[in-house]
């Protein structure tokens, strides 16, 4: 261990891959840590927070400067309540410190580089040490097992491999459990289905938009997933989606969908995951300290209220981050979960401050539009929001077979009804256009939902 700090006493036990007999089929991957009492968890969090703060104070110029500005010393962090004295870290800070400005270990201690896609300018570079790589896999293994995955599962990973964390981190997690991993990557639906049939795929990891596309693809090929495939579970993430979309995917692919949350800045997937209850995503709080804050004031919101998720890494070696502003809007579910895990749960991400559109002065999240569209019968799975001219909003949505009787009047009625329902939800009345399926630019990967052509 190179850093000047001694690992927390229990860290060795916690971080070593727990030894397991071949044929892993238990209910927990890491029962000790997943069911730790809240009191013990908080003691562990404090020790790890203090260690993290000492390490960044010793090695990361960015944090050294921040601490100097506010006069903070590592020893000032005496309890978890002192967290709010620590500075925030934003995605702009990550870009400003690109490529290696936030490293807390020498470069030769790093093992892997990931980047987080940026729409503008430089990406965010994220370094992993050997222990970080292992931890990320451990958390994914925990998450998968929480949904009932065993070594007998065949895992077809349809996320993009490469710089993106989505595919690699889950890949390693599934291997830890002993699943057969098929690194398929996204796209080429023909081949995906062939792999599923030939190797008896039971688990998939997929974006919601591609899952919907794939469901439509199966339908077109007259394949009934429950009859013709062995699919059992899908881990769906990387894009926010609604409960309605979950049901559509479950129905269309004939499996159970588990919501997951992750971001490259915090290892990627496996930060928070639904258990078999499918009710909120357990955040692995022995690795991450979470806060839900008012995005404007930076102050905590009342418990259970929606706000921006802010995360502090507790075990990250190569690139610890303090109070990272995720920009994701969510809320905490604080009650105990019947699964026995003591780690608190996050509700579905309801928006991303980055995705927010401002149309005619009104703040709108694409998910609000998606919710309305998905609740409407007669329309399909894909949609596109086009902003044009002087703040005109056009919502294009695919017509579904169920919505088509052949009568033009009914189509006009459907467009009007959707327009009214959208206005009730987002307070701006868009023009709704029904389009044929396959007409919108999808995307066997991440869907592009907003096109802004405004000349403002």
């Amino acid at each position: 261990m190179r850093s000047g700090t001694r690992p927390a006493p229990s860290a060795g036990r916690l971080l070593r891959c727990p030894s397991r007999a071949a044929g892993f089929t238990a209910k927990f991957w890491d029962q000790t840590n997943e069911t730790v009492s809240r009191a013990e968890l908080e003691r562990l969090q404090l020790r790890r927070l203090q260690s993290t703060v000492r390490r960044v104070a010793a090695h990361v110029p960015f944090y050294q400067q921040k601490f100097a500005e506010s006069g903070l010393k590592p020893q000032d962090i005496r309890s978890l309540a002192d967290l709010h004295h620590l500075p925030f870290t934003t995605s702009a800070d990550l870009r400003a410190n690109y490529p290696a400005g936030l490293l807390a270990v020498p470069l030769d201690e790093t093992l892997r580089l990931h980047t987080s896609s940026g729409t503008t300018g430089k990406p965010k570079a994220l370094f992993f040490s050997r222990r970080d790589v292992n931890n990320a896999g451990e958390l994914c293994a925990r998450s998968f097992v929480a949904t009932g995955v065993t070594k007998n599962d065949v895992f077809q990973n349809m996320m993009t491999y490469g710089m993106f964390t989505g595919a690699l981190v889950t890949h390693y997690g599934a291997e830890k459990i002993g699943c057969l991993v098929i690194p398929a990557g996204p796209g080429n639906s023909e081949r995906q289905v062939m792999l599923m049939q030939d190797f008896g795929t039971t688990l998939i990891h997929i974006t919601p938009s591609y899952a919907l596309y794939l469901a439509a693809f199966l339908e077109k090929r007259a394949l009934a997933p429950r009859r013709d495939l062995k699919l059992r579970k899908a881990f769906v993430g990387a894009e926010p989606y609604t409960e309605e979309t979950r049901r559509k995917i479950e129905h269309g692919l004939g499996l159970d969908v588990y919501n997951s949350y992750g971001l490259s800045e915090m290892n990627g997937p496996g930060v928070a995951f639904e258990c078999e209850q499918k009710h909120g995503m357990h955040v692995w709080e022995d690795h991450f300290l979470i806060e839900i804050l008012d995005p404007k004031t930076g102050e905590p919101v009342p418990e259970g209220q929606p706000g921006e998720l802010v995360m502090t890494t507790l075990c990250r070696e190569a690139m610890p981050l303090l109070r990272y502003r995720t920009r994701d809007i969510t809320s905490l579910l604080t009650g105990p979960c019947p699964c026995g895990r003591t780690h608190r749960r996050l509700n579905r991400i309801t928006g991303r401050s980055d995705d927010m559109l401002i149309v005619r002065g009104v703040n709108i999240y694409p998910q609000q539009i998606e919710r309305v569209l998905m609740a409407q019968s007669g329309v399909g799975r894909n949609y596109l929001i086009v902003l044009e001219g002087l703040d005109e909003m056009i919502v294009k949505v695919e017509l579904a077979e169920a919505g088509f009787s052949g009568k033009v009047e009914e189509l006009i009625r459907l467009q009007k009804q959707l327009g009214e329902r959208l206005r009730a939800e987002i307070l701006v009345k868009p023009t709704v256009q029904l389009v044929p399926p396959g007409d919108l630019p999808v995307s066997e990967g991440k869907a592009r939902r907003v096109v802004d052509n405004r000349k403002l």
């Binding site: 017509l399 088509f404 029904l434 399926p437 007409d439």
Partner: protein, 142 residues
């Protein structure tokens, strides 16, 4: 059964759409006996009477089109003034709403195609007035 089946297709109102849809039908060796196209803003609906509606429906569906089969009534009327009025009156008296109507004359026979909400009710009303309601086979052999 004297309802006539039409194949309806949803299409975007853009260049080449009609050509592409009719190409699909031609490729399946389908003969179009009657067609209507209604376009509203950005989209349109095309309706066809073809010699094999099941095949047409399948062929279009396979190409990814949103398509459906519709029941309409085909009525033969006298090729003379007042014929349409007689039909319209008859349906109005029976409380049937006429959604879309079109007509043509073929081989000196005047045919009206009626889209109504309640096909059985409309058929009964027309037959009571001794108006001849044509079957699919009759329509295809005009």
């Amino acid at each position: 059964m004297s309802a006539v089946k039409l194949v309806a297709v949803f299409a975007e109102n853009k260049r080449g759409q009609t050509a592409h849809i009719t190409e699909v039908l031609a490729a399946a060796n389908l003969n179009i006996r009657w067609v209507t196209i209604a376009s509203v803003g950005t989209f349109g609906v095309m309706k066809f009477l073809v010699n094999d509606y099941r095949l047409a429906h399948e062929a279009l569906k396979h190409e990814g089109y949103v398509t459906t089969l519709m029941d309409v009534l085909a009525v033969e009327v006298a090729d003379q003034p007042g014929a349409l009025r007689a039909v319209a009156e008859c349906l109005a008296e029976s409380g049937v709403n006429l959604d879309n109507t079109s007509g043509f004359v073929a081989n000196r026979r005047a045919i009206l195609i009626l889209e109504v909400q309640n096909v059985p009710l409309a058929r009964e009303a027309l037959q009571k007035r001794n108006l001849r309601v044509l079957t699919q086979e009759e329509m295809l052999s005009l």
